[in-house]
């Protein structure tokens, strides 16, 4: 048997199963959930090797996971002495304390994943660890892949994940449906982690292109999950989705066969994914409600303009003003440099050079690239 189907199933199902089992046990015992699911896949590998792939592999996996969970309940001391009483005292209200039925219905899987997303994105965990934990628990990435994405080693990542899980325990983070109170600030945090996750993929230094793309798709998948719930389907959720769609639409055009990134100017726009651009437009329209202008709104609009290859004065004037606004609410050196490039396109070289000097970013690599580029241009 080839490993491919199992690998694919693992990517799709691991996170769902961990979310559902954690929902039953509580986040403190997330490792138990991971163990059960890992063991389930181990069993699958062995059995399917011998007997072939079952007719409905997903149902097979769920059944085995349930059996292993019940088995664990019977023999594991921690579960018996600690988790069971907690369940019985009504912590997990969805659980029938008699049966400990694991509910792998699509709805319950989604609900569990949403709760997991909110739990992992708790402000208590440092954001670096959060992305790691999100990749592991919400996206099903292996430790090797996470290490590769961060250009780090397995040991460091393991430590980070350990600390993050420890925090989930000590801060007593609960899996619960997001509720009306405090949803705004918590959703902001969740969106930020999704944004970082996407950026990690889009701007990652890893030469592994497949991995980069997967990071971006996973971030978008989590964003879509948020749009499926009324409470989390907010204008800035849609703005972030639009932003990700527009960026992702240029994914294929950005890459050569080798490691090099193809710069925007040289991109073949026939490689831009028009479906994703359309989807981005859809989300952009949905984001334009309410009275809150977030950096996601501004960045989405900038990304939208970059989906129009034609170099018009209007385009660069719009982009410049969007960068001006973005810097007001969210300064970063890279935004300042991008703004200076837009200033060059909209207002001309002279002004751009003056403004560039003022940025005081001499140590910044991209500052030097932009300066050298502008200085090679003729004055008019």
């Amino acid at each position: 048997m080839s490993n491919e189907p199992l690998k694919e199933l693992f990517q799709q199902q691991f996170v769902k199963m961990v979310a559902v089992i954690s929902n039953l046990f509580g986040l403190q015992h997330i490792e138990l959930a991971e163990d059960i699911v890992s063991e389930t896949f181990l069993t699958a590998a062995e059995e399917w090797e011998k007997k072939g792939i079952p007719e409905n592999p997903v149902a097979w996996l769920y059944t085995v996971a349930k059996r292993k969970t019940i088995h664990l309940f019977r023999r594991d001391n921690i579960l018996r002495t600690k988790v069971l009483p907690a369940l019985a005292s009504g912590h997990a209200d969805e659980v029938d304390t008699g049966a400990f039925e694991l509910d792998f219905s699509p709805k319950h899987i989604r609900d569990s994943q949403l709760q997991m997303l909110f739990a992992v994105c708790t402000p208590a965990i440092a954001s670096e660890s959060q992305i790691g934990l999100a990749l592991r628990i919400l996206c099903g990435f292996g430790i090797d892949e996470i290490a590769e994405a961060f250009l780090s080693n397995k040991e460091t990542i393991n430590k980070r994940l350990f600390r993050a899980k420890e925090k989930l325990r000590t801060e007593n983070i609960r899996l619960e449906p997001p509720s009306g109170t405090g949803i705004t600030s918590r959703l902001g945090n969740v969106l930020h982690i999704i944004y970082l996750l996407f950026s990690e993929g889009y701007y990652s230094q890893t030469p592994n292109r497949v991995l980069q793309k997967e990071l971006c798709w996973e971030a978008m998948r989590l964003g879509v999950l948020l749009t499926e719930y009324e409470l989390t389907n907010q204008p800035h959720t849609n703005a972030l989705m639009a932003l990700m769609c527009f960026h992702a639409s240029r994914f294929s055009a950005r890459q050569t066969g080798e490691a090099a990134i193809i710069l925007y100017e040289q991109q073949d726009e026939s490689l831009w994914d028009t479906d994703l651009i359309r989807e981005g437009m859809h989300y952009l329209a949905l984001s334009a409600t309410g009275d809150q202008l977030t950096s996601y709104h501004l960045e989405a609009r900038i990304a939208y303009w970059h989906c129009i290859k034609e170099d018009t004065p209007e385009k660069w004037e719009e982009i410049l003003q969007l960068y001006n606004q973005l810097l007001m609410i969210n300064y970063s050196p890279s935004v300042a440099l991008n703004r200076t490039f837009a200033l060059f396109k909209a207002n001309g070289l002279e002004q751009a050079l003056i403004e560039l000097e003022k940025l005081k970013l001499e140590g910044n690599y991209f500052y030097n690239v932009l300066r050298d580029f502008l200085r090679t241009l003729p004055p008019h």
């Binding site: 007001m328 300064y331 200033l343």
Partner: protein
């Protein structure tokens, strides 16, 4: 870094309400680019608020007058808050402010920290 308020005053004769839309657009762009330039240096603390031209002034004895600027030549149009090491540096940031093209002025005032 400390915070400084930029108070923009302009001659009453140059009431933006009297400016033609096309010219207004050009002036608005100058303001946005100038403020964007401060923000690009990471020095914008608060993009501020524009003040409408109408208003009332309350004086001792319950005297209320229409408009805050009946007795002054210049009126306060808006303000922003920037970050700078000292007053001199803040003043340097104010250079190039479009209000100067309109015969207006920028008043640079340190804000007391807590």
């Amino acid at each position: 870094m400390k915070e400084f308020a930029f108070l923009f005053r302009f001659p009453r004769a140059n009431d933006p309400g009297n400016i033609a839309p096309e010219e207004f657009k050009a002036i608005a762009k100058k303001w946005q680019d100038w403020a964007g330039g401060i923000a690009a240096q990471g020095r914008m603390s608060n993009g501020g608020q524009r003040l409408a031209m109408e208003g009332k002034v309350l004086k001792p004895g319950g005297v209320i007058t229409d408009g805050p600027f009946v007795e002054i030549r210049e009126c306060l149009g808006s303000f922003i808050v920037v970050k700078a090491e000292n007053l001199d540096e803040a003043t340097t940031l104010a250079h190039g402010c479009p209000i100067l093209d309109q015969d207006g002025s920028v008043e640079i005032r340190p804000i007391f920290g807590y």
